[in-house]
Symmetry: C2
Subunit: 437 residues, 2 copies
């Protein structure tokens, strides 16, 4: 029985969205599950056999928070970071990304994903929702380093090997769903309405229902997506997908930039998770999502970094800040998306969007112990008018000092404990050279 106690930190639990600052509280986890969050003086002595050493973290000078949820990424695309920027979407995909992806090996996906995991653990991300080729390999990287992952393959209907992809992805999802792994939560990843024809989409929906996993899909990312949907279905993407039954299963929709009011109603009614990806939407000039309206309507909205091909980092705190900032300029309302709403999107909102809020997203007894300690000893964290404000508007990923997933410390005092960075850098350099050299 492994016990972890975190003491001395100020705590924001995010339980039911609560951003109140708790002082003099402590957290206890046993075997990876939170058993206590509350006043330190009411925490019972460790209930362990005398010969099992407690693991104890001194959180003095730090803020303890639930770990960040990266609701949409393609982690292995760290390999593409900086390889092609500031280009129009079409040549970017056709001349740069797809030719490189055509050469991808298992080693590329493994090391690219592991590099992404390293970056995310250092940025306080404890769970990420990933859509990429060779999901079994990506999942192995996550399992090797201990981060929580929701992997899905990529399902495309417009390629010669569409059937192979379907078989691979559904077998992977079925196997991991049966495993009931504490840290790997499989999904199925139909790429997008415009790349997955109706017949295949219906098979994917049926598979998701049968296996009991959510779908992860790009939705209404660009104006072109809307036009394509109108041409194919005579309806906008959300309404078209609703009509064919997509939202009868749990669906995480990435981007959701172009929504009309009816789309938002459907998203709320059908409990669709939204992964808002502001950095990617800005960098690709896609547009600005209606997050204020989505939140006001009660949608489950998280934030995602998207892949490093279009971002170019996996810094979820930056995404939460961008979400708060662009919601204001887009609505002309400086009160839109206040700091507490952005912090919630990065934690509990993300957990709800990816259908894991029963298990993560807040620090509450019964949930898994995914948490971070944020160092408050930097000039940009002073004075201390509001730590919620500081987290969203002033903090940096590098302020995250310690990252815990499932009760296991993955980074302590900025040192990664489960990833050999030197080897990862060397392997990634080799992959990058081969893919783009």
């Amino acid at each position: 029985m492994a016990t972890l106690r975190i003491e001395g930190a100020q705590i924001i639990t995010m339980a039911d969205g609560d951003t109140q600052l708790r002082e003099g509280w402590a957290l206890e986890a046993v075997d990876g599950a939170i058993t206590y969050v509350g006043p330190a003086d009411q925490l019972a002595p460790a209930r362990r056999p005398a010969n099992v050493p407690d693991s104890r973290i001194d959180g003095s000078g730090c803020l303890l928070l639930p770990g960040f949820v990266n609701a949409h990424t393609h982690a292995a695309m760290t390999l593409f970071r900086g390889a092609a920027d500031d280009m129009p979407l079409d040549p970017w995909l056709k001349e740069k990304i797809w030719p490189a992806e055509a050469k991808l090996t298992e080693a590329d996906v493994y090391w690219g994903t592991l590099l992404g995991c390293a970056e995310m653990i250092r940025a306080g991300v404890t769970c990420f929702c990933d859509m990429y080729h060779l999901p079994r390999v990506g999942a192995r990287a996550a399992m090797d380093c201990g981060i929580r992952m929701c992997p899905s393959g990529v399902l495309l209907g417009i390629v010669p090997n569409a059937e192979d992809m379907f078989v691979e992805a559904t077998e992977f999802a079925r196997e991991f769903a049966a495993r009931d792994d504490l840290c790997v939560h499989p999904m199925l990843g139909p790429h997008a309405p415009y790349t997955v024809p109706r017949e295949l989409m219906e098979r994917v929906i049926a598979a998701a229902e049968e296996i009991g996993v959510p779908l992860h899909i790009h939705v209404a990312e660009t104006e072109a997506n809307v036009a394509e949907s109108m041409a194919t279905y005579g309806k906008r993407p959300v309404q078209a997908m609703d009509e064919i039954g997509l939202f009868d299963v749990d669906v995480l929709g990435a981007h959701c930039v172009y929504l009309d009011d009816r789309d938002i109603e459907i998203i709320v009614e059908k409990r669709v998770g939204v992964a808002h990806c502001p950095g990617s939407n800005l960098k690709l000039a896609s547009g600005i999502a209606r997050t204020r309206d989505l939140l006001a309507a009660g949608a489950r909205v998280g934030v995602g970094t998207d892949g490093c091909g279009s971002n170019n980092n996996l810094d979820l705190l930056e995404e939460a800040r961008l979400a708060a900032l662009i919601a204001k300029v887009d609505t002309g309302d400086p009160t839109a998306m206040p700091a507490d709403a952005a912090l919630q999107m990065a934690t509990l909102g993300g957990a709800r969007a990816i259908f894991l809020d029963h298990c993560i997203g807040s620090l509450e007894a019964g949930k898994r112990c995914d948490c971070i300690l944020v160092d408050l000893d930097a000039p940009h964290m002073h004075p201390r008018h509001s730590l919620v404000s500081h987290m969203i508007y002033a903090a940096q990923a590098a302020d995250v000092r310690t990252t815990v997933v499932n009760g296991t410390v993955l980074m302590r005092d900025r040192e990664l404990l489960t990833i050999d960075l030197g080897e990862t850098y060397a392997q990634v350099a080799e992959s990058a050279e081969r893919l783009f050299g």
Copy 2:
């Protein structure tokens, strides 16, 4: 004679905007001035008396760049960080900022500015253009820690003590202009066209001409500013100010969000510096400046953080990234503001905007030695497709390892050498408590 050599780093000089990566180069500075930037093997042995020890920095694993220029801030407003967010502009100013500013003491301004300097040095900012009350006190903080500063007072025509402010600011500017200090470059700071009536503005213009310093002024930050100018002058702010002769002296215009084509022509013709402040413009929902058009027309554009009341940090790298990202979404063009343009805005462009490009902004023999070493050993800096891209789209302020101003090392390996952070935090906490408690 003090000699500084930086060897082993990869270098981007930004000379004439050059972003090429130089390997095997070295930099030498003597008495704060750069004497050599070029191939390390052509650097002559140190030309110093044998008894004066060389200062040498090993830049291995780092990127050497000119320091960042923060073209518009109110550094002492670190005191306000997180004190009032997510509010409409009017109650924010009237209920929060102005009542607190009415209580400001010299100690508040000193420690608030010093905290800002600490944050900026840690973020690789080597020069900042500041507009705030008690400029003499702010300048003392900068001189005490060694950062380069362009201080100006705030000149307002709509307050009872307008004349005192004018006398204080012009005396300050005159004194420091005569000193010809190597690190303090005074300006005059008429707050904005809508707060400085025409008669006072004309006196300020005459004073700037007589003393020989530039003006630093907020210009066309909001739509309301444009409406006020139309009501007062019958012209938009830039055209109204042009007509009264503002741009016959050197002017740094902060924000410049609302510009029409004629405004841009004037800005280019009259060589007006522009301090683009994307973070503040987003957070206050002011709007998005036409930076692509300004740059295309040949304007001198830098980036500024604005004060921590509306940002809430002094992270110039974040501002440069925001500038690159929002230019794309605003124009619908992912090729707008590529990484090299954003990096230039943060360095040489900023130096040009604040009229110090003869002295800083690039690493060239003859300029002052203001430079930074950026650590490349983080997951988000791998693989190494493009360091220019990584600087703008992936790097964090915390990647800055070493900061040098005027040949003096202000931060070495993340340790601040000229600021006592503990004392600063304590003093700032006291000020914050008094101002807002």
